[in-house]
């Protein structure tokens, strides 16, 4: 068993990065996630593991530093919060287009615009459908505890390398700022260029060796036929992700008549809502998507044939509800899918959720 600590979610991201053998972090301060870089700077991993930590001049620069370092085969990451992630949209699209692995952490705050620094889940669409231009997808992991903030750093990198695709941890100010018990991962050594090459192939720009053609990292393709075949290759990858990487958790869904669907912070709330509802005699369960992309369509489609309704609980104006509807619709059932949410940095209370459930699904 790893080391047990009481830490902030943001701090854990930093600690997990060092421990999983991350080669570099490039970031820019923004509330509520500045502790990620601050913790790294305080930990001085350059002395310990050789990890580089650089405060960039902006989020635009950060994501392009990530692009460069990732292109050279290194395990690198950045973190920011909503407005900063928007500034990375072009860079993220480039990274996806050039098929580079990397990890991006979005500790969401309320928008649009400067909005509020309080927690939010309003970047669901941006993360899952593509904030940047062009057809691409991120692998999106949504932790709902500080422990998962630890676990998903390593997982994120694993998936990023497996698919040569950027992965995102989509969390929010509540989980980033909160301290909880966490069992830290054991140290993994940083991978050498040779190990990366052996495991993932020799695509990286780490200096042209005599035994290979020179490598080019680019997302440009002027020949439409070739560009289309690139696009098709990306889509194949996404399909494979949809088959192999879906992750979710179910609570008390076996006998449930109503299913709450929620991720991250709001999923924590909903766990309590399930208890409250069950105490009232309502058969309620919770499905928590862990991967927001690929989205757990199948379990929802299956539940759709058995239950009386779904309620998505989101800290936004209703975004994931579309994916739940699309998934539930796959079963050709006509089970209602409703949404309840709070915005502006407000986290719903467990009681509110039960009330909404009663109003929108049971009494309706």
């Amino acid at each position: 068993m790893g080391e047990l600590r009481l830490m902030k979610g943001n701090e854990v991201i930093a600690e997990a990065a060092i421990r999983c053998g991350c080669d570099g972090y490039f970031g820019y301060p923004i509330t509520p996630q500045s502790e990620v870089m601050e913790t790294l700077m305080d930990r001085e991993p350059w002395d310990e593991t050789g990890m580089v930590v650089l405060q960039a001049e902006s989020e635009v620069a950060s994501i392009n530093m990530v692009y460069g370092a990732a292109g050279s085969g290194k395990k690198v990451m950045t973190s920011s919060s909503s407005p900063g992630i928007s500034l990375m949209a072009e860079g993220i699209s480039y990274i996806a287009g050039a098929e580079l692995p990397c990890l991006i952490v979005n500790v969401q705050r309320g928008g649009p615009g400067l909005g509020t620094i309080q927690p939010s889940q309003a970047d669901y669409f941006q993360s899952t459908k593509g904030g940047g231009h062009g057809d691409y997808r991120l692998i999106v992991l949504a932790p709902s505890s500080v422990q998962e903030m630890n676990d998903f750093v390593d997982l994120g990198f694993e998936l990023a390398y497996k698919y040569r695709n950027p992965a995102m941890i989509l969390t929010d100010g509540a989980i980033g700022q909160m301290m909880e018990k966490v069992e830290l991962s054991d140290y993994k050594p940083r991978m050498t260029a040779e190990e990366i090459e052996a495991k993932y192939g020799s695509w990286a720009t780490n200096g042209k060796k005599a035994n290979r053609e020179y490598n080019v990292i680019t997302s440009l393709e002027m020949d439409s036929a070739k560009m289309e075949s690139n696009n098709r290759r990306f889509q194949e990858k996404y399909k494979q992700m949809e088959e192999e990487e879906v992750r979710y958790e179910m609570f008390q869904c076996e006998d449930a008549e109503y299913i709450l669907v929620a991720f991250g912070s709001s999923a924590r709330i909903c766990q309590k809502s399930v208890d409250l509802a069950r105490a009232k005699g309502l058969k309620v369960g919770l499905l928590r998507p862990i991967t927001l992309y690929p989205f757990p369509k199948k379990p929802i489609a299956e539940l759709a044939t058995k239950v009386k309704g779904f309620l998505t609980v989101e800290m936004n104006a209703g975004q994931m509800v579309e994916d739940v509807k699309l998934a539930a619709g796959c079963s050709n059932s006509s089970v209602p899918v409703e949404y309840f949410g709070r915005m502006g940095g407000i986290i719903p209370t467990p009681g509110e959720v039960v009330e909404a459930l009663e109003q929108k699904l049971i009494e309706a």
Binding site: D23, G24, F26, V52, L54, A56, E57, S58, V60, A61, S62, N64, M65, V66, Y67, G68, A69, A70, G71, S72, K74, V76, E90, G91, Y94, A98, T205, N206, G207, K208, K209, A210, Y214, N215, V216, I217, T218, S219, L220
Partner: protein, 265 residues
């Protein structure tokens, strides 16, 4: 002596550097990019650092630079080459990383990235092709376009009130403490091309010696964008650009000593 007797392997004095690939460059006839590509290839060959060198090609006419020099390359988003190079260089301390950027890329959209990379003193080389225009997108005004110069977005000539002043970014860069070597060159005559090659070589040598950022501006032509033939474009450059962008080294040494930059107590 008969030509056939001259053209013999043992008499060879100049040939295409091996580091240049066989691909025909996509540049317009007479474009300076081709010359500078060759100079860069020659320098990498000279220093024997093919296995160590990583190039960063920008968005601009030279986006396809990666097709022409036989080294590892990364294409960068418009203006972000210095950030990309920083990323590569920081996690690959043993490598030589250079960017190759146009004036729109470096001095307009990428102003923040170039200033901060140079100010941090990233151990990289920057080759800056200043042709006073956006070649790639069809000849629009660049930050370095002169007042009165006609471009696609200044069809009556660049106008101060509407379009602002041309920007001498290299003069600013030379003042950043992180730079070791900042020079302005051209490559339009045999003599200047040879001098330019020396400058590029010094820049790469600095990177090997970890001296800080080395920055080589090459005042260039874009005959297509300027709507001149290549020979006249060179003349136009000499007459109009050289007075405003004078040739020469602006800094040659190492990045600044840190003393003056410290808090006192």
């Amino acid at each position: 002596m008969d030509i056939k007797d001259i053209i013999k392997p043992e008499n060879l004095v100049y040939e295409k550097p091996k580091l240049l690939t066989d691909k025909t460059m996509h540049y317009c006839p007479g474009c300076t990019h081709g010359v500078v590509h060759r100079l860069v290839a020659e320098v990498i060959e000279d220093l024997n650092i093919q296995e160590k060198t990583i190039g960063v090609s920008p968005v601009g006419c030279s986006v396809f630079a990666y097709n022409y020099i036989d080294i590892d390359w990364q294409e960068a988003a418009h203006g972000r080459a210095p950030a990309v190079a920083t990323g590569i260089a920081r996690v690959n301390e043993d490598k030589v990383v250079f960017t190759y950027q146009g004036d729109g890329d470096l001095a307009s959209i990428g102003t923040a990235e170039i200033m901060h990379a140079c100010n941090r003193g990233e151990n990289i080389v920057v080759i800056f092709i200043n042709n006073a225009i956006y070649g790639m997108t069809g000849g629009q005004m660049a930050p370095t376009t002169l007042l009165g110069q006609v471009t696609a977005t200044t069809p009556c000539g660049r106008d101060l009130d509407r379009n602002g002043y041309p920007l001498k970014i290299t003069e600013l860069i030379a003042q950043l403490p992180g730079t070791a070597y900042v020079t302005r060159q051209s490559a339009h005559t045999p003599a200047t091309a040879r001098k330019c090659r020396k400058a590029i070589k010094k820049a790469f040598q600095n990177a090997l010696d970890k001296k800080g950022t080395s920055f080589v501006e090459v005042v260039s032509t874009c005959n297509s964008g300027w709507r001149l033939n290549p020979v006249d474009a060179n003349k136009w450059m000499e007459e109009n650009m050289f007075p405003f962008f004078p040739m020469g080294d602006m800094k040659d040494g190492e990045r600044d000593a840190p003393d003056a930059y410290f808090k006192k107590n």
